[in-house]
């Protein structure tokens, strides 16, 4: 049953992936601007520009370039970066772990922040704790993430000296420590949403019939809250984080810039600015694959967690 569901979903990934490559390819190629001219700067003599266009395959009409791109893709080749002159796949592989770790930190951080807050709020709806949590959430929604990040740097890194100001560090412990502030920043950006829906889910669970039944049988408040509220909340958390993977991944673009992290997001922004087409196409594809896979995993996890869901 489950396997058939997964198989069906995977099949649907194909047209989506195709659509993604089309959109990614044509949008970056429709952008005005010439990577050869930026590469050469003010020393861009017409001869060298023409030579670069030929070398980079940019002198073919765009549909032909798309064909060449897809052809390379089917042979597992993501192409060469125009600026770095090394393989796109290599660049992506070296920078992917940073972004994935950042996302993991963000998800973990979001859960760690949101669950206790939601619990405190759900215990007594409309009580003081609840009002406070909702107030904080509402204020939090309006805070731009790069602004939050910079403030965290100034307060926790510069003045308190607890964390490195930016960068990725040079050893595994250094890496893990450097990702705390960026992870926290991304977590803060999604926490308000997460708190809100966790709270709703927990309140709904607590108001449901089986909880009333459990209470009637004498189960204590906290035990009930933890057992049923948490279970329901975890379903919501998985769902919310999963659905918003696109938002989280997009957030890395900005945060990696603020914290100087060598991840896919900062490479993406730089490559768009430089018109490094192969890199932009490659990263867009990878992002799309991550997002689609996470959606699939979310649905599967949801189905496993909530027995009432029919995988129809």
């Amino acid at each position: 049953m489950l396997l058939r569901y997964i198989a069906r979903r995977l099949v649907l990934v194909v047209p989506v992936a195709l659509g993604v490559t089309l959109l990614a390819f044509f949008s970056i190629h429709l952008v005005p601007g010439d990577p050869a001219r930026t590469f050469l700067g003010d020393r861009a003599t017409p001869q060298t520009v023409a030579a670069l266009h030929r070398a980079w395959g940019l002198d073919h009409p765009i549909p032909v370039q798309y064909w060449l791109f897809m052809d390379r893709l089917f042979h597992g080749n993501l192409g060469q970066s125009l600026y770095y002159q090394s393989s796109v796949a290599g660049l992506i592989i070296s920078r992917l772990p940073v972004t994935l770790l950042l996302l993991a930190y963000a998800a973990a951080g979001a859960v760690l922040i949101s669950v206790p807050l939601a619990l405190a709020a759900a215990r007594r709806p409309d009580g003081i704790a609840d009002q406070a949590v909702r107030a904080v959430g509402i204020v939090g929604i309006g805070m731009p993430s790069f602004w939050v990040g910079t403030i965290l740097i100034i307060v926790l890194a510069l003045h308190a000296g607890l964390f490195p100001v930016a960068g990725y560090g040079s050893s595994l412990p250094g890496h893990l420590w450097s990702l705390v502030l960026p992870g926290l920043t991304v977590a803060i950006s999604i926490a308000p949403m997460l708190v809100r829906s966790l709270r709703t889910a927990m309140i709904d669970a607590l108001n449901s019939d089986y909880v009333a039944f459990a209470r009637a049988k004498g189960a204590g408040g906290t035990a009930v809250l933890l057992r049923y509220g948490l279970r329901n909340a975890s379903i919501s958390a998985v769902s919310i984080l999963g659905i918003n993977i696109g938002f989280l991944v997009g957030g890395t673009l900005v945060i990696e810039n603020v914290f100087a992290l060598p991840g896919l997001g900062s490479l993406m922004v730089q490559s768009v600015l430089d018109r490094d087409f192969p890199v932009v196409q490659g990263i867009t594809l990878i992002f799309a694959v991550i997002v689609v896979l996470v959606y699939l995993l979310t649905d599967v996890a949801y189905a496993l967690l909530d027995p009432r869901v029919r995988l129809g």
Partner: protein, 525 residues
């Protein structure tokens, strides 16, 4: 703006005093070699930079970060002196020029070794220089265009024959692109070699994580005895200005490349930090597209130039750390003519010029602005306001920097911001690109302004074939005067290279071309 104290000795090895703009008394931002005592050995210098290193192949790089890093790995035959005005022997100790000015014979320094211990020979020089123009896509192929052939009569002699008499050759040879690699990549494949490149320079690559950092370790065979002092140099890629500055203040970096001008004053008053300000070869200007009306009219161009209050711009954008520009060539280069009549602020004169022009009542036009480039955005708004009194209505046209380049180069602009620097210390490169019309060889329609003055072209070509320094200077002076009077561009200002540096760092000097010799840098512990 203070200038570097120049010392005529320029033996090429020791860098001399470093200037710094400091308000009297507060921070010890003085010459880094003065009171520090003898250089101490060892230590790791962390150099936080504003952009990533794209490649370390000298024949493929065009971006500053890659260039300045590669210059500490690969060295040329001759190098520029710290004052940027002369050349000093480097991997070559001397040269002779044939009477017909076509044959340059270079004598290599003995005892120079690559970081592997292999000795430098003429074969390495021939291999490296020929690589520069080997492919049509090589960005600096034009700099060696005059070279006809290179021969190596013996291990320590290199003979370069040019196609025609070419005065700038020595300066061309000193370009970073002509840095010397081991012949045939020292036995490795090209790809293998550039994964861990090495040269005769003070450092070699230990580890390179693109987008993150480049780790250099000292070359134990370096030919300047006793140098480099540092054991390691780490170039990190930190695009965010505030982050770099905070890293410096937090001790995670010892050099912060290009802090924003607005932060200079605060950094100077931070203990443990000094701000070093070095003259650069950079000239910022407003360029006019003479193929678009009414910019073909010299009176319009002169009027606009007169209306620009450069001092106000320097104050607003450079926070006072700059000087108004009067020539396309910067004062840091030889060839600069201090009396070049580059137009300065004079509103009355501006109105007079407008009255004499083809559009005395003003006109509407557009100004191309790089979005997100704060300086350009600020300047654009200042210029918009300053041209109003002339009846010139300026609409700002923001585009992203990449598109900006393309549109300027394709002539799709009316007015645009641009700047120029030089990669060699000879005025030839700068003048060819910025003053000469046409597009043959190394020309770009006078930096895409479509200015075309055959008299200027003749003077420039003559300067390329003349070997008397004074004669060349006279020609370049004539060119500067002509171009300034023609108001080809509205020169804005000369801005310096600014580095915020820990007070533990000594010997750090930046040359007008922007590069630095890290073999002279040492850290006090």
């Amino acid at each position: 703006m203070k200038r570097t104290l120049t010392s005529a000795l320029a033996a090429g090895a020791l860098s001399v005093a470093v200037a710094a703009c400091g308000s009297s008394g507060t921070s010890p931002s003085t010459s880094s070699t003065s009171t520090a005592g003898a250089p101490q050995r060892g230590g790791t210098l962390i150099f936080a930079r504003s952009a990533d290193i794209l490649s370390l192949d000298p024949t493929q790089i065009t971006d500053n970060e890659s260039i300045w890093a590669s210059e500490n790995i690969f060295e040329p035959l001759f190098a520029s002196a710290p004052n940027g005005k002369t050349l000093v022997p480097w991997l070559a100790t001397s040269y002779t020029l044939s009477p017909n000015h076509l044959v340059w014979t270079f004598h290599l320094r003995h005892g120079v070794r690559f970081a592997t211990g292999a000795p430098l020979t003429s074969a390495d020089v021939k291999f490296s220089i020929e690589r520069v123009s080997a492919k049509a896509t090589n960005p600096f192929a034009f700099i060696d265009a005059a070279i006809k052939s290179i021969t190596t009569p013996d291990k320590y002699t290199v003979v370069i024959t040019t196609k025609y008499p070419w005065a700038p050759l020595l300066a061309d040879v000193a370009l970073f692109a002509n840095g010397i690699l081991p012949a045939n990549y020292g036995g490795e494949s090209e790809a293998q070699f550039f994964a861990h490149p090495y040269g005769t320079g003070p450092f070699r690559v230990q580890q390179w994580v693109k987008g993150s950092q480049l780790v250099l370790v000292r070359n134990p065979y370096y030919w300047q005895k006793g140098k480099p002092y540092l054991s390691k140099v780490i170039f990190t890629d930190v695009p965010n200005d505030n982050t770099r500055s905070l890293q410096l203040q937090g001790g995670q970096a010892q050099i912060d490349e290009f802090p924003p001008f607005s932060a200079i004053s605060q950094l100077q008053h931070t203990s443990g930090i000094k701000v070093d300000i070095f003259p650069s070869s950079r000239t910022d200007f407003l360029e006019f597209n003479e193929a678009h009306k009414p910019f073909q009219d010299v009176h319009v161009r002169r009027a606009i130039s007169y209306a620009l209050n450069r001092k106000a711009m320097i104050q607003a954008v450079l926070f006072g750390h700059g000087t108004p520009a009067n020539s396309i060539i910067s004062p840091a280069l030889w060839g600069y003519d201090p009396s070049s009549p580059g137009i300065q602020y004079n509103l009355a004169a501006a109105k007079r010029e407008m009255a004499q022009s083809s559009v005395p009542h003003g006109f509407s036009t557009t100004l191309l602005v790089g979005s997100g480039v704060t300086n350009e955005e600020s300047l654009a708004q200042i210029i918009q306001a300053e041209l109003k009194p002339l009846g010139i209505k300026v609409t700002l046209r923001p585009v992203d920097p990449n598109t900006e380049y393309t549109e300027i180069q394709n002539g799709q602009y009316d007015m645009a911001f641009n700047y120029d620097t030089t990669d060699i210390i000879d005025p030839d490169e700068l003048i060819s690109f910025s003053a000469m019309g046409g597009t043959t060889g190394q020309k770009t329609r006078a930096l895409f302004t479509n200015y075309n003055n055959p008299q200027v072209d003749r003077w420039a070509e003559q300067a390329e074939r003349t070997f008397s320094l004074s004669a060349r200077k006279a020609l370049y002076d004539k060119i500067q005067t002509q171009v300034a009077n023609d108001a080809v561009m509205g020169y804005l200002y000369y801005s310096p290279f600014v580095y915020a540096v820990s007070t533990k760092v000594h010997g750090f000097t930046v040359y007008p071309t922007g590069n630095y010799h890290l073999e002279n840098v040492w850290l006090s512990h």
